[in-house]
């Protein structure tokens, strides 16, 4: 865990050094060659100093009296997005595992489903978001009414499910023939073979897939918030503050940093999960 924390901190620090270093060295208006911007502008509007961002984060969101500090608003938005992404991640991992299980169990399911699983990821998110929202709004079962955040979670899960289904299928098919034969010789059925052999053997394939799914869920949630127009999340906040960037250039960087934090938290959660499943990560013995 400590190693991952150090790596994460080093990454953030490197980014900060590069940012200020670029500001120091690059010309204010960037480098333009034959009308093409080769290097971006480094003036204080395009790239505010890190300390200006920090100062802005401590100040209130708006000049309205009683407005909460920016960092608090960003924190709430980040927590909201993280929650939606987590729901999407859980749904995506579950659906991915179920799909892979179905494909492993029935050969015909594999040939019928796998092309669709791959094809599903070619549908652009931007096209999908309004569709999901429309379908969802038509859903009303008793007291249950579809919420916009659910549409965002669905899209996050849609991106999360793909690596899991592919990774899990590989993992569930990974046991050695000798292990499969052994369990067959015990006369146990498919389910016991699945739970005692295939699922534990799939863990080394599942963990990277689950990490990728977490990253996808966060990106999916942030982008879907924007395209669906869901308020309260970090994605929407970036766009909103970005609109006032010329007047208040440092402001939009707070939600951007918030999005980075959401990603780091998601990655950290995956590290914890890996550690919980540590004993299944041993390499195969002969």
């Amino acid at each position: 865990m400590r190693r991952q924390v150090v790596t994460g901190a080093a990454g953030v620090l490197t980014l900060a050094v590069l940012w200020e270093g670029y500001k120091l060295l690059a010309p204010d208006d960037g480098v333009v060659v034959a009308g093409l911007t080769v290097l971006p502008r480094s003036n204080d509007v395009a790239m505010p100093h890190l300390w200006d961002m920090a100062a802005r984060a401590a100040a209130p969101v708006t000049s309205a009296p009683g407005a909460e500090p920016l960092w608090l608003a960003v924190g709430q938005a980040a927590a909201f997005t993280l929650g939606v992404a987590a729901v999407g991640w859980v749904v995506g991992v579950t659906v991915g595992l179920l799909t892979a299980t179905l494909m492993q169990r029935f050969r015909t399911a594999e040939s019928a489903l796998l092309p669709w699983v791959v094809l599903s990821q070619t549908v652009p998110l931007i096209a999908l978001a309004p569709l999901v929202r429309r379908w969802g709004s038509q859903l009303e079962i008793g007291a249950f009414a579809w919420q916009d955040w659910m549409s965002v979670a669905v899209i996050a899960s849609y991106l999360a499910f793909f690596p899991v289904s592919v990774g899990a299928l590989r993992g569930l098919s990974s046991p050695d023939a000798v292990h499969v034969d052994l369990l067959r010789s015990y006369g146990v059925g498919w389910w016991r073979t699945y739970s005692t052999l295939r699922l534990p053997a799939a863990v080394p394939h599942l963990l990277p897939a689950v990490r990728l799914a977490a990253a996808n869920a966060v990106v999916g949630a942030v982008v879907a918030e924007v395209s669906i127009g869901l308020r309260g999340g970090i994605g929407r906040m970036i766009v909103e503050f970005g609109a006032s960037a010329s007047a208040d250039p440092a402001k939009q960087w707070s939600p951007i940093a918030g999005a980075v934090v959401v990603g780091l938290v998601a990655a950290g959660a995956c590290v914890l999960l890996s550690r919980a499943l540590d004993r299944y990560r041993v390499s195969e013995v002969s």
């Binding site: 050695d176 000798v178 292990h179 034969d181 052994l182 369990l183 067959r184 010789s185 015990y186 006369g187 146990v188 016991r192 005692t196 052999l197 534990p200 863990v203 004993r279 299944y280 041993v282 390499s283 195969e284 013995v285 002969s286």
Partner: protein, 299 residues
């Protein structure tokens, strides 16, 4: 699962009689034989034509008897073992295990099995690996634990119960696999070159250990090997097979005393060399044809 076996272990504790006519009919009528193979064939269809792995094989393994299968690689030893274990189905002929079709015997847990690869589950401790068949068949936690402790003591690995398989040497892993195969006190043990990957020193050690375990359990054993001395040292009878198509060429009675009486000293015995020669001659054929024994370890 010895309760389901028709013969009690005590009835086979005496010295094993030198084998008479290998397939004498009364073997089936008095008590169900451990394994009964009648005219069994196995043909594998492949793109480049059919492969006849086994052709019209007859074999009877009596309850409590140790029978080795030996022959050049590709002669169908593993295939025959897999047919007995119901991991594969014959394309012709018939097999029974304790008088029942193999799939029934498998559901009854009538046999234990061990392969050339130890095949331990790497995420389970040594103890949990030995407990695996008991756990899958619903034995209670305490009984499972007691049995695993007992078995690990038997194979000399009591101190390694809580280790992971990858912390053990190849020979130790194989001993765990044998303990696992013995977990349910099966009346039949099926072993496919279980010592094939071990060095000579370790191998002789586990051979003697297997003889002792077998004497204690009274189980019948079908043992695939490509080592003539190993087959002679362990077996009551050695089944010599030939390839393309896989057939039983000859059955050589060995019976160098009961399993419990055999010790390492036997390896130096004239009788032992005598039987080794007999098996080697059977492998090579009396016509002196060359190449029949290819792939067979003649040390």
């Amino acid at each position: 699962m010895s309760a389901t076996a028709p013969t009690s272990p005590s009835s086979r504790s005496g010295p094993v009689e030198p084998a008479g006519p290998p397939d004498s009919p009364d073997a089936t009528t008095t008590a169900a034989a451990a394994v009964e193979v009648r005219g069994v064939s196995r043909r594998f269809a492949s793109r480049s034509g059919d492969v006849v792995a086994l052709s019209d094989v007859d074999l009877t393994v009596r309850a409590g008897e140790f029978v080795s299968l030996i022959g050049p690689s590709g002669c169908g030893k593993s295939t025959l073992l897999r047919l007995i274990a119901d991991l594969d189905r014959p394309t012709g002929g018939e097999l029974t295990v304790f008088g029942r079709p193999p799939h029934v015997a498998r559901q009854n847990h009538d046999f234990g099995i061990a392969f050339q690869q130890a095949g331990l589950l790497p995420w389970r401790s040594v103890r949990a690996n030995v407990e695996l068949p008991l756990e899958l068949h619903g034995t209670g936690r305490a009984a499972r634990r007691a049995r695993a402790t007992e078995l690990l003591g038997l194979v000399g690995l009591a101190d390694f119960a809580d280790h992971r398989p990858d912390q053990l040497s190849g020979g130790m892993q194989q001993r765990v696999a044998i303990a696992r195969a013995l977990a349910e006190s099966p009346s039949l043990l099926l072993m496919d070159e279980p010592f094939g990957a071990l060095d000579e020193m370790t191998r002789e050690h586990v051979q003697t250990e297997l003889l002792r375990l077998r004497a204690e359990s009274g189980a019948a054993v079908v043992f695939v090997t490509h080592s003539i001395p190993e087959a002679v040292y362990l077996s009551d009878r050695v089944v010599v097979m030939s390839a393309r198509p896989g057939q039983v060429r000859e059955i050589v009675p060995v019976a160098l005393g009961s399993a419990g009486d055999r010790t390492d000293g036997l390896r130096e015995d004239d009788q032992f060399f005598d039987r080794v020669r007999a098996v080697r001659e059977a492998l090579h054929g009396t016509d002196g044809a060359t190449g029949v024994g290819r792939g067979v370890d003649q040390r």
